[in-house]
């Protein structure tokens, strides 16, 4: 599971408060780092689509925060240095084994071989 994917995932357990299911807390037992071709424009255009705070939090929990700033720097579109770091965190860091935890209900979703299992039991469905 890449962090870009994680940024879109939310818990959907019944009874969770509005917005309470996001972001899922990551407890990783195995993390992999890949090389992915850097595409500056891709990263620059993807940033507005992601929840920046959640991304930072996720990166930090995996020890890959490096020195990414809490606020987006002005005119980041042309800041290659910055974009490369974002690229790394979005696409190159992968959680292979671990758990995603709903911040509201505490429900744990396992990640096995890079694949999160988000299936709910019948009682948990809305």
């Amino acid at each position: 599971m890449k962090l870009l994917t994680h940024n879109m995932l939310t818990s959907h357990v019944r009874g969770v408060r509005p917005g309470g299911g996001f972001p899922l807390r990551i407890q990783a037992t195995e993390v992999k780092v890949n090389n992915v071709d850097f595409n500056q424009e891709f990263v620059a255009r993807m940033i507005p689509k992601v929840e920046w705070g959640a991304l930072l939090e996720a990166a930090e929990s995996l020890g890959h925060l490096s020195d990414l700033p809490h606020q987006l720097p002005p005119e980041y579109e042309n800041n290659e240095d910055f974009l490369r770091k974002v690229h790394h965190v979005l696409l190159e860091v992968e959680v292979m084994e671990g758990i995603l935890k709903c911040p509201d209900s505490g429900r744990e979703f396992p990640i096995t071989k890079g694949i999160p299992n988000m299936l709910l039991s019948e009682e948990e469905e809305t």
Binding site: R17, P18, E92
Partner: protein, 510 residues
């Protein structure tokens, strides 16, 4: 020079050593031609219904205008010989062939004997030279590719069995592919020849992706070490050939078998080639549709449309169909494209290969499907792997196990949804679809970005789909519909545009 002398001269020029020389040098040494000057007509079979999409791709990648044989799954276009390698990079075509000659209004004789004699006589009048040059060039291109590819494959051999997850058991692969060829060649009717879906379930094909460099697709199935040597030797000796005839029409006095046999006999006499139904070098195509007769030479082998996939599921979609569907939604860079019922991942994998500037997510509720999708992605990664540096390369794709009626995705977070919905035949049931389809459309409308989002959905259960959609006019606007044939079933691909209206929140999260 008579045609036959010219043809054999061309073939005699080529021997094993020639494959080592640069090809352009080889052909330009013949004062009669140079690659740029030779223009040939290429025919391509495409999933029925996607002829326009394929023609579009040809225009984009080769600059050629296509003639479309609408609803018959064929397009024709002209290219100069130097572009031959690029033809293999087309993602919307199943099979390619070079046209020897096309007759738009062929006058068949009255009796069966006369008609067949007529076809036999036709052989020596056909312009074989240039098409054979194309075939020759094409074979050389494929050989180079296989050699290069074998070196890569041997080092990344999978340990898993063939039946289960698709390993590299080459002997079985070869047999399996032969079976397919025989199977496919026994079908007489034009239509059924294109319905390879069901028959190819067991066949495992691994294929190379073109990555922007001047490389070309090839089929590993029939080309193992022994096969390669055989073909190499064959060039010094006599060529082996077969004739495949597809015939459709009510008024013919003969069958495709008759035509293939007699035409084949004449070809054998003319070229002094050896007939071999299974282990051939040249496949001559004789396509007869009413009064239209097309003679061609195949440039691809049967199994081209199953590229990308090494691990099959019960209803794995043809990659060419997946490509056509993706192209229909016009992916833009950084679009987030998901397939919420991805099965073995055919669509997202095709997406990640052809549109790497988008982000693709495959999801399914079935654990086996998810596992197969992950394995297919793994196989793809291995192909892209840089052996020397040992670093592993990633591609913009992820897999998740989820329930489509309850997607764990933030509202309005997705740009495009492309999926093959359960037909209710091999997967699920028609009854289940009555509940499933509305629930799907509802969830999909929630996660899809209002205004700019779109969905491309394939289904055979058109009645159910139309009913489900009719209640959602405020969320989904119906665009273009493509009628396709999937494994013999009449299906439709619906293009939907997400309206500006925000979906009513069924659940309490954003």
């Amino acid at each position: 020079m008579s045609d036959i002398e010219e043809a054999s001269d061309t073939l005699a020029e080529v021997n094993l050593d020639d494959t080592l020389k640069p090809l352009t040098e080889n052909l330009e040494s013949d004062p009669n031609s140079s690659l740029k000057d030779i223009v040939v007509t290429i025919g391509a079979t495409v999933p029925t219904g996607f002829e326009l999409t394929a023609a579009d791709e040809v225009k984009e990648k080769l600059g050629s205008q296509s003639k479309i044989s609408k609803d018959r799954g064929k397009i024709y276009f002209e290219i100069s010989l130097e572009k031959l390698s690029q033809v293999h990079r087309l993602r919307s075509v199943d099979n390619l062939f070079v046209i020897v000659q096309e007759f738009t209004d062929y006058q068949f004789k009255e009796t069966k004997e006369d008609t067949l004699k007529d076809l036999e006589d036709l052989v020596k009048k056909l312009p074989w030279t240039d098409p054979l040059k194309v075939w020759k060039l094409n074979t050389n291109l494929k050989k180079k590719k296989t050699k290069h590819k074998k070196q890569n494959q041997q080092s990344s051999a999978s340990k898993e069995k063939l039946n289960d997850d698709g390993g590299k058991d080459r002997a079985n692969q070869k047999d399996a592919d032969k079976e397919l060829l025989d199977h496919a060649q026994n079908t007489l009717d034009l239509k059924s020849a294109e319905q390879n879906t069901e028959k190819t379930q067991e066949i495992i094909v691994a294929d190379d992706q073109s990555d922007g460099k001047d490389e070309f697709l090839t089929i590993t199935g029939n080309e193992n070490q022994a096969g390669d040597c055989k073909k190499g030797e064959a060039e010094d000796q006599v060529l082996k050939f077969r004739v495949t005839c597809n015939r459709a029409g009510d008024k013919h006095s003969f069958t495709s078998n008759d035509a293939a046999r007699d035409f084949g006999g004449a070809v054998q006499d003319y070229f002094q080639w050896k007939a071999d139904m299974t282990n051939f070098d040249v496949e001559v195509l004789l396509n007869i549709h009413n009064n239209e007769v097309v003679v061609g030479i195949a440039l691809t082998e049967e199994s081209l449309h199953r590229r990308n996939i090494t691990h099959f599921g019960p209803t794995t979609l043809r990659s060419t169909l997946a490509y056509g569907m993706l192209r229909l939604c016009d992916p833009q860079p950084t679009d987030i494209i998901i397939d919420p019922m991805s099965g073995t991942g055919a669509i997202p994998i095709e997406g990640a290969t052809e549109w790497p500037s988008c982000y693709h997510i495959a999801g399914d509720n079935n654990p086996q499907a998810v596992k197969r999708a992950a394995n297919n992605i793994c196989s793809l990664l291995k192909k892209n792997q840089n052996k020397e540096s040992g670093t592993s390369w990633g591609i913009p794709i992820d897999t998740i196990q989820w329930d489509i009626c309850n997607l764990p995705l933030r509202t309005s977070s997705v740009d495009v949804i492309v999926t093959d919905m359960p037909f209710g035949k091999r997967i699920g049931s028609k009854k289940k679809n009555w509940d499933l389809y509305p629930a799907c459309l509802m969830e999909m409308s929630r996660i899809c970005r209002p205004g700019t989002g779109r969905a491309v959905l394939l289904t055979q259960d058109r009645k159910c789909f139309a009913k489900a959609l009719s209640k959602m006019g405020h969320l989904w606007q119906k665009g273009h519909t493509v009628w396709v044939n999937v494994g013999g079933l009449h299906a439709a691909v619906y293009l939907l545009k997400r309206t500006l209206e925000r979906a009513g929140e069924r659940r309490s999260y954003w």
